[in-house]
């Protein structure tokens, strides 16, 4: 905890100051302001005569008959997406584990969705899944898997399933990248000695590989949950929460209030509810991964 003469305190604070100012002004202050706004009556029309309205916005949200289904949809969205992203990402990482010629190029071709805009991906898939001219319907019919076209994104029975499938397509690379890196950190000797002991592939997977990479699995899943919860982009590119509210998750619910109702205060109240969930979740995350005791 001592600083050398070369490392003066003023230099430290001068260097971190821009970032701290920017983050305070553009992230922390708006967050606090958002909390305040959630108790006011900001709409596009009442911009200049704002007053406090107490819990009115919260009452409106909690008595909204759509709200329970929004919460449920959010849970289904998170659980469905993260579970399958994890399983398929894990399988992909295992397949890529042992080096082969061209592995780097292959990884480039399958990991690229990470860099794509979720919104644009939503649009891409809404063309592929189109109920009349979509190629997915065409292929499924040619394979005799279906007889009638499925209206993937406009049928309330299929919409949530479809957006989750798109999200899985989008999220596999993240898990594959994280898990592959963890797999490559397993010492060769550990795997070799298990092989000499005669442990089969399944046994090696469950008694060596998974325990070894458990910290990575845990932290990736925990981070991904928070990230997927706050990921309205794909849904905004496909269904915008519809049909009949079947894909309406919390962030989409909030953004629709901003764009269509232009009720800024009510949207802020939804934001505060999301922040509260995030905060509780983050503390839970810190506790579980002991990121809080990070070294420095």
């Amino acid at each position: 905890m001592k600083s050398t003469p070369h490392h003066a305190a003023w230099f430290f604070f001068l260097m971190v100051l821009p970032v701290i100012l920017i983050v305070s002004f553009l992230v922390v202050y708006p967050t606090i302001k958002g909390v305040v706004m959630s108790f006011q009556n900001y709409t596009v029309f009442t911009f200049w005569r704002v007053r406090f309205v107490g819990l009115k916005n919260y009452v409106e949200i909690f008595t909204d008959s759509d709200f329970p289904s929004v919460l449920l949809n959010t849970l289904i969205w998170i659980a469905g997406s993260v579970t399958l992203q994890l399983i398929l990402g894990f399988i992909l990482a295992l397949l890529l584990w042992r080096p082969f010629k061209g592995r780097g190029i292959y990884a480039g071709f399958v990991f690229y969705p990470w860099a794509l805009s979720g919104f644009a991906i939503g649009l891409v898939w809404s063309w592929l899944l189109n109920g009349t001219f979509g190629i997915v319907n065409d292929v499924l019919k040619k394979l005799h898997l279906i007889k009638e076209n499925i209206h993937f994104l406009s049928d309330p029975n299929y919409a949530m399933l479809s957006v989750i499938l798109i999200n899985i397509w989008y999220g596999i690379p993240f898990f594959a990248i994280m898990i592959l890196a963890a797999l490559q950190s397993i010492p060769k000797e550990v795997m070799e000695s298990a092989m000499i002991d005669g442990a089969g592939p399944v046994r090696r997977l469950f008694s060596i590989v998974i325990p070894y990479i458990k910290p990575t699995l845990l932290s990736s899943v925990l981070l991904r949950i928070i990230w997927v919860m706050n990921f309205p982009d794909i849904i905004y590119g496909t269904t915008r929460g519809g049909p009949a509210g079947s894909t309406n998750i919390l962030p989409v619910y909030m953004i629709n209030i901003v764009f269509y109702e232009t009720n800024f205060s009510k949207a802020s109240a939804v934001g505060v509810i999301i922040i509260a969930i995030l905060l509780v979740y983050t503390l839970f995350y810190l506790k579980l991964t002991s990121y809080g005791e990070m070294e420095f």
């Binding site: 920017i22 399988i91 990991f111 805009s117 649009l123 898939w125 963890a182 990230w227």
Partner: protein
């Protein structure tokens, strides 16, 4: 044992091939659609290849739909926001990696919580703040917001890269009478160029793809960024899917390009305890 191995390798090859098709096909199909003449887009049965591939959708996009303007706007906004936030995160990340004082812990915790807050969640208060400064419907306003949302995360990432570079080298330069900043930018930063490119790419990808803030802040047609333009396309009646597909190809290419050149470093950034997907 040997037969097992061949069987396993065949299965692996088969599964990897299927996944490759699954990963690449959607964009391939959008590309094919963008080359179709308008009358073939909605033809039935579906044409798997356009009978006479044409660039007319792209021509329409850039001449009538003003797409070059949107592309330029997106480039200005995301390149400048990423450059500024990368630069500032290098300054902060450097001292956060080198100093061993209690403040480091508190600042990191502050940044950790700040980067947990998703951008869309605070766009309304930002909108209200920025309307006071007359920064609504101006690219500068969106650029400032974008600089702010990436900063915390970039700093955490940049600190991680600095931690891996031995401090002895800079110290030698300092003893030689080199200024601190000069030692940083002449000696340390050149050594972590992969890290710098990862930080910049992360930030570029995030800002290039951002829709909601831009859609809220920008209204006039000449100010729109690419995602907002696509968003307004789908609300317009009569937009053809070959034109929209061409727009998607153009919208997706820059980040694919960035990913292709910086892939190795991005993956390093993702796996070195970086926190965002």
């Amino acid at each position: 044992m040997r037969r097992h191995k061949i069987l396993f390798e065949t299965l692996r090859f088969f599964l990897l091939s299927i996944y490759l098709i699954f990963a690449v096909f959607p964009l391939f199909w959008i590309f094919i659609t963008s080359l179709k003449p308008s009358e073939e887009v909605y033809s039935y049965p579906i044409k798997y290849f356009p009978s006479s591939p044409t660039l007319s959708a792209y021509k329409y996009l850039f001449s009538f739909a003003n797409f070059s303007r949107y592309f330029l706007n997106s480039a200005i906004v995301s390149l400048s926001a990423s450059a500024v936030s990368t630069f500032l995160s290098l300054l902060a990340g450097y001292v956060l990696a080198r100093y061993r004082i209690k403040s480091v812990y508190w600042i990191l915790l502050f940044l950790f919580f700040a980067q947990m807050i998703p951008a869309y969640l605070i766009m309304i208060p930002q909108y209200v703040m920025f309307s006071r400064f007359g920064l609504i419907d101006r690219l500068l306003g969106v650029t400032i917001v974008y600089t702010g949302i990436g900063c915390a995360f970039s700093t955490i990432m940049s600190r991680g890269f600095f931690l891996r570079i031995p401090r002895e080298l800079e110290e030698a330069a300092l003893i030689d009478g080199c200024g601190r900043l000069r030692a940083l930018f002449r000696i340390t930063v050149p050594m972590m160029l992969p890290g710098v490119s990862a930080i910049f790419s992360f930030s570029f990808v995030n800002t290039w793809n951002e829709l909601f803030i831009a859609a809220l802040f920008l209204n006039s047609d000449s100010k729109l960024t690419v995602p907002v333009a696509l968003y307004s396309f789908i609300s317009k009646a009569g937009i053809k899917w070959n034109v929209l597909s061409a727009g998607l190809v153009v919208a997706l290419l820059p980040t694919i390009f960035v990913f292709a050149i910086a892939q190795k470093y991005i993956i390093a950034g993702l796996t070195q305890g970086a926190l965002k997907g």
